[in-house]
Symmetry: D2
Subunit: 147 residues, 4 copies
Amino acid sequence: MCTNVQYKCCHRFIMNPQHLYFDPIRREQVVGYRQEKTMNMNDMQSCIDACNKCYQTCLQTAMNHCLDTGGRHVEPAHFRLMMNCAQICQTSVDLQLSGSAFCAKYCALCAEICEACADSCAELDQMGDCEKVCRDCANSCRAMANQ
Amino acid sequence: MCTNVQYKCCHRFIMNPQHLYFDPIRREQVVGYRQEKTMNMNDMQSCIDACNKCYQTCLQTAMNHCLDTGGRHVEPAHFRLMMNCAQICQTSVDLQLSGSAFCAKYCALCAEICEACADSCAELDQMGDCEKVCRDCANSCRAMANQ
Amino acid sequence: MCTNVQYKCCHRFIMNPQHLYFDPIRREQVVGYRQEKTMNMNDMQSCIDACNKCYQTCLQTAMNHCLDTGGRHVEPAHFRLMMNCAQICQTSVDLQLSGSAFCAKYCALCAEICEACADSCAELDQMGDCEKVCRDCANSCRAMANQ
Amino acid sequence: MCTNVQYKCCHRFIMNPQHLYFDPIRREQVVGYRQEKTMNMNDMQSCIDACNKCYQTCLQTAMNHCLDTGGRHVEPAHFRLMMNCAQICQTSVDLQLSGSAFCAKYCALCAEICEACADSCAELDQMGDCEKVCRDCANSCRAMANQ
């Protein structure tokens, strides 16, 4: 992953380009932002939405379907992955909403965890919806990481 | 607030009513649930959506518009309320998604904080959208608390 | 609960009393703070520590001992309570650390949930440590709520 | 970073080695764990404590000292970094407490963000304590990532 990805990412939420802000790469106050490095706001919103859906789906499924079904659905490695995936996606939403300079790197890691969670869901019954949401989120996070 | 509200609330996510589960009020294993006490799933989903929108809007507005604008927008009491409102609404989403027995009581407190945040937003420029989202969430949480 | 409790609570983190800040009760800008209403910083730190320990213990116990043991330890109502207690205590830490005006009210609710979680732990094997941590946190939160 | 780090990490919380569990690397059910790959529990606890202290210090400092001081302390890039660092460290605590297979990779990213936050603190007055806590956490996270 290009070490510059965070540069593009951190500019996306600069809502008042006429304001001075601190550039974390150049380490100085700058005015406005370089347009060519701004990421597409639609892509950002898509990734926020995908992470939010994954956080909600994993948490709700784990705490209801998995606990109520029992058996392999509460096997430690699977259940942990569901809860960890929910937590990591929720933090990903937070970072993106707050305009963090680290959201691209974070999304790269988030994609790995979502993919692992999707694989774990694929081995169990009635987890097809959760698997699909995790795969979609992994794809969206990879796109964000590569911007 | 009726002390029974949590009883209704905790049943909403019982997806497999044929399963035994522990009733936190009667403190015994029961089968299924009493239909008349189940809350409307549409109301629950509305409240989850309202809390999720309030969490995202308060966080994004505080970390972008408020920080970029400065002045009264970063005055401690206002900024704290924005961040606390975001956090409390996010935890409210978690509790509702996980089928907590305490979501009605939690939503009653959440409504108070959203109302206070809306009042604080009303005193500042360009915070009308955030104010509206907070008022809507307060209304939705009050409805949940009174179910 | 006295409606004034939040007033005392919100003053505890005012580190620069010479600054103007917004008083959430009087709803106006004020200078400094009234000394007699400030809560004891040691009590605050005790409650932060108790909530932090409860958050960590419930989460670690649920995700390791309970999942590894299975059976009644992953029964939905018990497991949900463990995870909800962890989440609510963690948010309580956040509110207290950020100097929220709502931490007294929040702690009152947190105490109820910790007590319920302690009761649930008391019915299971090898949950004595978690039960004690929850009871200690409930006591600390009640003290904070009544300040 | 060795791709095997997560393997060592995910074994640390296996409290009942006689139980079957799913190995996320070998992708099969295994019994117990290979002792030589288990990480030192003292190192794990150190990293949990360092992340927890960093989460609390960044959050408390941002929401009190920085907001009360104003000026450069609420400059968007600095304030965002403080809040993002707090959030990422808190999620790191969660992953470690829950025995996640991804905690080594997560800690590698956490170390980067803590280091950036320490650098940002170093440019401001009266942020020496926060800077030190961030550097200590970065060191602890790097040790965890390299286990």
